[in-house]
Each structure stands twice: as C-alpha cells, then as structure tokens.
C-alpha cells in the first residue's frame, strides 16, 4: 500500500483516494452486483460504497487490507440497499410489475438448462458467501479481475505465499461445500 497516498487521502485528498482505491473498483462493483443482482442498483451501491470509504478513510486503521476493508463496506452498503428494496417491494406483486412493463430477462436457454445453470451458480455463490471476507476478496480479484497471484499479493500488500495458501484453502472449502449439497 502506498503510505504517502494513504496519508494524503486521510487528509481529504480526493485524487489520492482515487489513486489508492481505483484498483479495487471492479471488486466493489462486482460484490454489489452479486448481492443485489441488478446492475443499476449495483452501480449505485458501489458508488455509495466508494463515497462511504472516502468519508471513513481517516478511520481506516490498516488492521485489514484496503481491498478487504472496501469489500466489507461494499457488503454493508449492499445490505442497506437490500433492506430498502425489501421495504419498497412489500405489497408489490408480479402482476403489478408486469402492468408497469417489467418482464423477467431470458437468455434463450431452455427452462431446464436455465434451472440447472442457475441452481449450480446459486449454490456456488451461496458457498462463496460463507467464506471469510478476505478469501472472498481474493477469489474476486483472482477470477473476476483475472489478476495473477503476484498481482494480488502486490495489490493487497500480502506475501505471495499467503495469497496462494488462502486461495487454495478457499477453493478446498468451496469444493467441500458444493459436493456436500
């Protein structure tokens, strides 16, 4: 982590904050999207998460990595969005949504294929969501951003060995959970 940038960001320097957090913007958006399932909501939540992070950077104590800290903020913001959406949806019906022109998206696959695909992904995502935040962050950077182990280690300020072992543990955990379903 760039200590100088962090110090400047803590003083309220927006440019320093952007330089510091830009490598993790996809991570933040992706996690919001996984939780909210809606690109528009995810974008809004990710933006809100970044703003919250900027406001709270002064209290960032470096007990965790910056990526994990941002991931947690994105998670909390997404939870807030879900609560709001739940309150909004109370009383709403599918018929009412269709009256407003809403149609569920279709990808052309047969209902059976779609069922299998979605149920498999849902199970995997469910399993991922039970992992510790750091492991989720590592998985997201590895498979979402396509970063190498070295790049992840550099981005998160961890050693290469730590990254490798944490990812291996995460995958082993996932495999065990998915097979158990």
């Amino acid at each position: 982590m760039n200590v100088r940038l962090l110090r400047q960001a803590r003083r309220g320097d927006a440019d320093a904050f952007i330089a510091l957090c830009a490598p993790f913007e996809t991570l933040v958006y992706r996690h919001c999207l996984q939780m909210l399932k809606n690109p528009a909501d995810a974008q809004e939540a990710a933006q809100e998460a970044m703003l919250r992070a900027y406001r709270a950077i002064g209290s960032f104590e470096e007990r965790s990595e910056l990526a994990t800290w941002l991931f947690r903020i994105a998670h909390n913001v997404s939870l807030d969005f879900l609560k709001k959406a739940y309150r909004r949806r109370e009383g709403a019906s599918l018929e009412g949504l269709r009256d407003k022109g809403f149609e569920p998206p279709g990808d052309g696959a047969s209902p059976e294929e779609r069922y299998l695909q979605t149920s498999e992904q849902a199970a995997l995502q469910e399993a991922v969501s039970t992992l510790p935040e750091r492991q989720q962050t590592l998985l997201s950077l590895r498979y979402g951003d396509g970063l190498s182990y070295e790049q992840i280690a550099k981005a998160m300020g961890l050693s290469l060995g730590t990254v490798k072992s944490a990812l291996n543990r995460a995958k082993a955990e996932l495999r065990a959970r998915v097979q158990g379903i």
Binding site: I18, Q43, Q47, R142, V178
Partner: protein
Amino acid sequence: MKKIASDDALDRALTDLYQTDLPAGYQAAWRDAVKREEPTPMKPSPSLTWLRRAALPMAAALVLIVGTLITGALNPQTTTTLQAADTSEEAPAGAVFGIATNTADSGMERTADAVYAAVPAPEYDDELSSSMAKGTVVTAEDAEEETGSKIVRTVSLTLSTTDFDPDYDAVLALAESAGGYASSINLYDRQTGKRTASFTLRIPAEALDGFLTDLETVCRITERCETADDYTTQYSDTELRLQTQRDKLSRLQELMAQAETVEDLLQIESEIADTQYWIDSLESSLRGIDRQVDYATVSVYLQEQQAIDTAVTEDLSLGARIRYGLEATATWLGRFFENMLVFLVAAAPVLVPLILLIVVVRIIRKRRKSNNKAKS
C-alpha cells in the same frame, strides 16, 4: 454438482460466477462523486497568514533582543578583590596586609597598596593575655573594670556617586584619617557608568561617628543601617569560665608536683593539656570580642550612577530634563547596539549554521511543493 468437483471445473465455475462487465460510466461516476465530496481546502485567514509569515522574523528578533540583553547582563566584569587579613595580633604596625587580587587592574592595585601601607595596623595591648601568659590571676571584676561595657557597632552604608574614582579614593582616605583600615575591597567594573565597589572597613569605635559624618560630605548616602550589639554579658561569662579553667590548671600543676607514680603523671598531664586547650579557646574568644568592640565594622557599597539618576530633576527646566532624557536614551541605545554586535559575533558559530539550515529547509519545502503541484 459433480461438474465442479475438479480444479479446472471449479476455476471455470468461479470465473463464470465472477464474470462481470463494468457498466459504462461507473468509473467516472464514483470518481466524480468522491471529488464532489472533497472539502475545499481551507484558505488560511489573512491574519493567520500574516502570523505565519511573521513568526520566523519575530522569533529571530526575539532571539536577537534577548541575546543582546543577556550579553549586556553578562558583560565580563573586572573584579578586584583586596583582602586584608584580619590578623591584627601578628601584623606589626604599618605593615602591608596580605592582599589577594583577582583580575586586578594596575591602578586599583596601586591604590590598595598605598592605603594598606599607610594605615597602621590596630594594636591590641592585651594585658589580659600577657598576664595570662605570666600566670597572673585576673579576676572577672578586674577584667570588667578594664574593659567596661562591650558594645560592638556595625554600620552598613550604600553610597551613590557620579564621580566614582575620586569618591572611591575619598572613602579609603577617610578611613585612613580616622585611624581605620580596609579589611576587604571588591571593585566591580561592569561597564562605564555602572561601576560598583564594596568595602569592609574597620574604624576605631571612638572615631566612628566622625568618620560617618565626614563620609556624608563626600557622597550621597542612599541607605544606612546601624546596629549596636552588647557583648558585655557574654564577655563576663567567658571571663568567668576562663578563670575557672585557670584555677583548675593551677591545681593540676600542684598535683603534678606531688605525683609519685608515672600513671598519675600521665593522667595529670592529659588533664593539663585539655585545660590549656580550653583556656586558649576562651582567651581567643575574648580577644575576638575586644577586636570587634575596639574597631567598628563599616560595610560600604559604593554605586556609580549616571548624572541623570542623581540630578535633582525637579530643579531643572523642562528643556534640560528633555535633553537629559534624550542623552540617557541615546547612551542606552548606543550600549544596546554595542551589546547586540557582541552577541551577534559571539553567537555566530551557532547562528550561521542555524540560518543556513533554515534556508535549506525552506528551499527544499518550496521545491517539494512545486513538484507536487506539477504532478497534480
């Protein structure tokens, strides 16, 4: 679920799961939002800016002024100390007393020699001690009749003068003419116009009043403190104790004449030695009191003052007072700048590197600022 049992399958499934396309505008949107949130940098208020800019010069001025004042206060002083050993018993009349001179200037030393050489040393016709030496018995009543009341007079004077050198000499001359002598002289030559001298004079008791009257004609006495301590009772008691010890000594001497064994002789000799010690000590006390009674101690503190300080300003015209005031200010300013020059030269080994350090630090900070601006 068996599909993702292998590593490759799990990797593929995770890649699918995390497959995400960032929506257009997301990156710009959150950046803009953060930038909008950025607080506008607080411009320091003009007064604060002024204060910050003035801080360094003010600190420098403060150091300069304080340093100058300290330099003035620490101005190396020429101190002359002349110490006359108050061993009147040993000093023959007319002898030059022992003189210890520190940082003596030649003039001072010459004056002191002249004074001490001219002043006769006090003579103590101590019949008491001579009679004791002869072994004559002197009763307490006899001693009191001889010595009368024992009053020790001590006077402390502070004199102010505008003509330091003549008055300095006059004080010593008066002491000489009164039959006294100076037991110590300290001359503090701090700076022109502020010299001081302190004298410890021993003046014959009978000539003390005349000496003080004469002194008033020479200088302005600003402070005067006089004490008279009665040592009569103490003197009588000491004499009685002395007599007792002498009686004891006589008896011991008689006993020694009659002693038959060596042990007795040794014991009596030891007792005689102790008794003789006490006799010597008591005799010394009596002589000390005699000296103090015969010669009053006069402590004189002579201060040189500027003319304006001692001038009777109420008798002067307004113009003259203003002129005196301006002259005093000009003198003070001249001395202040002299001290400042001394301070600057003396502190140069510290000040020059310090100033260079400050300049270098400021240049580095300026460069860093301009670099940061260029980068941003």
